[in-house]
């Protein structure tokens, strides 16, 4: 394993690792991409050539050490190469969320003082041209896909392939340049700047060094025993730290192959074709996979449904124990074996998860039912607790000790401690250098002795596993002093397949109430089977039958809460189903789909008032923003319902 350690001096930056991999694993696949329906493969030696050409081309364009270069687009090998190419010149790549609207981009380009941009296609170029006059620093834009770009004749636009051609010519003229530039890189240099998605306020630029990313990535490889034979699919935004680790840093450390899907709509099919062995997905992906499975099962023949439900019962009873290596009765083992042939293995195959050795989930809490479903199928799904400021890994669930409610034990070289007021702090080699141009925020987050405040409330349980309750600033109190943890309640609601998103209110209020977003796919299918006609989300969300359906979910949550003495006071008394889906384009969610509570509270103030008055319905008008930036208003009359509460309210009434 010492050969992999970056501190050897040879492997302490991405470009050095690249050259090393091109030597050690010249013909091993490094990247795959599906184009025109066919998987194209590049070996490590090939990508080293491509990156060298691009780096020299960028040098010829004028990229200097320290320059910020924004990289934006869907997951494409060419964009991953761009990261390394920029790094080999001593520049700092800044990946940007590809679905950001122009104003969001403008903020980042402006704040990062980006001089160059390497983008995927016309769509991204158009966004930049729109804001070009507001970002005078931007000198050149390199685009990869020439489609639709024929009439763009601005001198500052360059085709990726042309830049590479210039690079080859430059390389021929100055053959020593590339290697000496790579040699100058050091582990302590800033190697990437990632903008946090910004649940609160403006996004902050997190500066990470090669050491941060590579030591953390390498520790992750050691902990899970990742080898050069792993296969992964890179489909999560490149601007997200997780993708940087899983699809870039760890691939460079272990030398495995990263595949890019054909388009963001084909991920499910591409997943099946690639059959990843190392897989990461946020809970919503696992949820939507499970929802699709359940919808299709409900449409299947009765005999198949019975078989599925019977064996899923068996799996639920013993599957987790078998995966964890606990003793299981022979009869159950036999049944599980039959179930594996008939149900589990074909199901995993359909989902493209047959070969997964290590599956991660993070970002949000995953529903215990969903988590148990996948684990009982024999899929080694594990939760981890991660943050951009830590270069991902803080805690990981260890094999064999996976508890749906915990976030696992600290990763290698990571120290975790809990402050007196319950906030989780950590210290690790992955701790970020600083927030770019924001010393105050850096000082607030990073203590003088190197501990980082996560802003999450949590505790260590008896087995040394970390448990996260909520964002500490979100945890509030009802007027009567009852603890109110909004995310905890929202997650409980979201674990129902019919509920896609939930927002709860209660801080400084008399009782807890909730906004619900139904899951259009799941509820739509449910409605179709009951011959309920609907024209779209708004119509469906307002139907009485749907309210009845959601009512059962809310009351079930209340039942669960009533069982817990501390939480029984925070049962949901009133709720409504929102007339529109919460959307990042409307500023209601972050780009990683986390709630932005303040904008939501401001925007729907009327509805919140209605929840805390006796009203049974409330007329609303909402602005929606389409993808192309046009806005429209939706009018609806939102119904408000009371939910039955248990226990606590009974006691209160006495």
């Amino acid at each position: 394993m010492t050969g992999l350690m970056p501190s050897s001096g040879l492997r302490d930056t991405f470009p050095k690792l690249l050259l090393d991999n091109a030597r050690l694993r010249a013909d091993k696949p490094a990247n795959r991409e599906k184009d025109y329906g066919i998987w194209l493969t590049w070996s490590w030696s090939q990508i080293a050539e491509e990156i060298r050409a691009l780096a020299c081309g960028l040098k010829d364009l004028g990229v200097e050490p320290g320059d910020k270069v924004c990289v934006c687009g869907d997951n494409r090998p060419h964009l991953y190469w761009a990261l390394t190419a920029v790094q080999s010149l001593g520049g700092v790549p800044v990946p940007v969320y590809q679905d950001s609207v122009a104003e969001e981009m403008q903020y980042i380009y402006d704040h990062a003082e980006a001089k160059y941009a390497i983008v995927e296609n016309q769509e991204q170029v158009d966004k930049l041209l729109e804001i070009k006059h507001q970002i005078p620093n931007l000198k050149s834009i390199v685009y990869n896909d020439s489609r639709g770009m024929r009439h763009y004749d601005q001198g500052f636009l360059h085709l990726y392939a042309d830049v590479q051609d210039r690079g080859r010519a430059y390389d021929a003229a100055y053959p020593d340049f590339f290697l000496s530039a790579v040699d100058q890189g050091q582990g302590s240099d800033t190697c990437a700047m990632l903008y946090t998605s910004g649940t609160t306020g403006r996004p902050k630029g997190v500066m990470l060094s090669f050491d941060n990313l590579l030591i953390t990535a390498n520790n992750g490889c050691i902990r899970e025993g990742l080898s050069e034979d792993e296969e992964t699919l890179a489909y999560l935004p490149m601007a997200w730290i997780g993708d940087n680790i899983f699809s870039h840093a760890q691939a460079y450390c272990a030398g495995y192959c990263v595949s890019c899907p054909e388009s963001s709509d084909t991920v499910i099919e591409d997943l099946r074709e690639i059959g990843p062995t190392y897989f990461f997905a946020p809970p919503r992906i696992y949820e939507s996979l499970l929802t699709t499975v359940m919808i299709r099962i409900e449409d299947a023949a009765k005999s198949k449904q019975r078989m599925f439900h019977y064996f899923m019962g068996v799996a639920k009873r013993v599957g987790m124990d078998i995966l964890d290596g606990n003793p299981v009765a022979f009869g159950d083992r036999l049944l599980y074996g039959i179930g594996n042939i008939l149900v589990y293995s074909p199901l995993k195959n359909v989902l493209g998860l047959s070969r997964v050795r290590v599956g991660y989930t993070a970002g949000e809490a995953i529903g215990p039912d969903i988590f148990i479903f996948y684990r009982s199928l024999g899929l080694n799904l594990k939760q981890l607790y991660a943050s951009t400021e830590a270069s991902v890994f803080i805690t990981i669930q260890p094999d064999g000790q996976v508890n749906p409610e915990s976030a696992g034990t600290p990763a290698i070289d990571v120290d975790v401690k809990i402050t007196d007021n319950g906030e989780v702090l950590f210290k690790s080699p992955g701790v970020f250098q600083a927030y770019f141009k924001d010393e105050q925020a850096t000082r607030e987050t990073k203590t003088a002795d190197g501990w980082v405040r996560t802003g999450d409330a949590g505790y260590m349980d008896g087995q040394g596993h970390l448990r996260i309750i909520d964002r500490s600033k979100d945890v509030g109190k009802l007027r009567d002093g009852t603890l109110f943890a909004p995310k905890f309640l929202e997650n409980k609601l979201k674990f129902f397949p019919h509920i896609k998103e939930a927002v709860t209110f209660g801080h400084d209020r008399d009782y807890v109430s909730a906004f619900i977003n139904i899951d259009l796919e799941s509820v739509g299918n449910w409605a179709e089977r009951r011959n309920i006609a609907y024209s779209g989300y708004t119509d469906l969300a307002g139907q009485d039958a749907v309210y009845d359906l959601i009512q059962t979910c809310v009351e079930q949550v209340n039942g669960d809460l009533a069982a817990d003495e501390k939480l029984s006071g925070s049962q949901i008394k009133r709720y409504l189903i929102l007339h529109k889906e919460l959307d990042a384009d409307d500023g209601e969610l972050t780009r990683t789909r986390k709630l932005r509570r303040q904008p939501i509270a401001e925007r729907y103030a009327e509805l919140i008032d209605a929840l805390y008055s006796g009203k049974t319905h409330c007329p609303v008008e909402a602005q929606v923003t389409y993808e192309d930036g046009r806005t429209d208003t939706i009018n609806a009359d939102v119904q408000i319902r009371d939910a039955m509460t248990h226990g606590a309210s009974v006691r209160a009434a006495e």
Binding site: G37, G148, E262, E627, D628
Partner: protein, 263 residues
């Protein structure tokens, strides 16, 4: 560029076309031309004879009078498959796809006229037939990439939403690599966003593949935005012909669309 009056190149010339079904005059002495590389719209109220005009152009209807010249060749009687061989492809007002077949297979049918090997070779899937299929599959994949329908490559088209089916139909027409593309209400029944997508694809086809397009459309804003010249028909008669601005200002057109005020 031979003579002064030959440029801009005329791809299709329609001269004095009259078509009647029994006593009904569907088209009455219609003449217009389509220049190479332009987007030409045909508009008009219901029953104006727009679809009949397209049907004449691709040889499905045989007008009693008049003549059609395509690529400098004047035709007498023509069958649709002959028109297709000459480089005319079309889509239909009501989608006419093979519902049980996948998107890819539907698009491959658009390559049918370009396949040279015979049925037996294809059935055996040997030698030349195999090479040919690979070559056509590549062409089909280019169309799929162009229209961004990778995710439905293997989905039976009957299961697709309406807007996507329209796109697949466009794909099948494109697979034939036509010189002239006839689109019969490509945006009918679509929502605003789908229309915008479709407009973009039509413009892309015109711009990047250099295909000349004749389209029938009811949505005026679409027509005025994307077409270079517009023909207006009303009850089988030619009402106006010119650039969108000219047509928009034409009093006859305004009367036909908005009605006439009676003093």
């Amino acid at each position: 560029m031979s003579e002064q009056n030959r440029s801009p190149d005329i791809l299709l010339n329609v001269e004095g076309i009259s078509l009647s079904f029994g006593g009904v005059k569907a088209l009455n002495n219609i003449s217009f031309d389509v220049r190479k590389g332009e987007i030409r719209a045909i508009i008009g109220p219901n029953g104006a004879g727009k679809s009949s005009m397209l049907n004449c152009i691709n040889g499905f209807y045989h007008p009693q009078e008049g003549q059609i010249t395509f690529k400098g060749e004047t035709r007498k009687q023509m069958q649709p498959h002959k028109a297709a061989e000459q480089g005319i492809a079309r889509t239909f007002q009501n989608i006419a796809l093979f519902k049980g077949m996948s998107t890819l297979d539907n698009i491959m049918t658009g390559r049918n006229l370009k396949m040279k090997t015979n049925f037996l070779w294809q059935a055996l899937h040997l030698g030349p037939a195999r090479r040919e299929e690979m070559q056509h599959r590549e062409a089909a994949e280019r169309v799929i990439d162009f229209l961004e329908i990778e995710q439905i490559r293997k989905t039976p088209v009957g299961r697709l939403p309406y807007g996507l089916q329209k796109r697949v139909e466009l794909g099948r027409a494109l697979a034939a690599e036509p010189d002239l593309l006839l689109l019969d209400e490509p945006m009918a029944g679509m929502n605003h966003e789908e229309k915008e997508d479709m407009c973009r694809y039509i413009l892309d086809v015109n711009d990047q593949l250099g295909t000349t397009i004749v389209l029938i459309e009811h949505d005026m804003s679409v027509v005025m935005d994307i077409s270079d010249r517009v023909v207006v028909l009303d009850y089988g008669k030619l009402l106006a012909d010119g650039t969108p601005d000219v047509v928009r200002a034409n009093q006859d057109v305004i009367n036909a669309y908005l009605g006439v005020t009676h003093e």
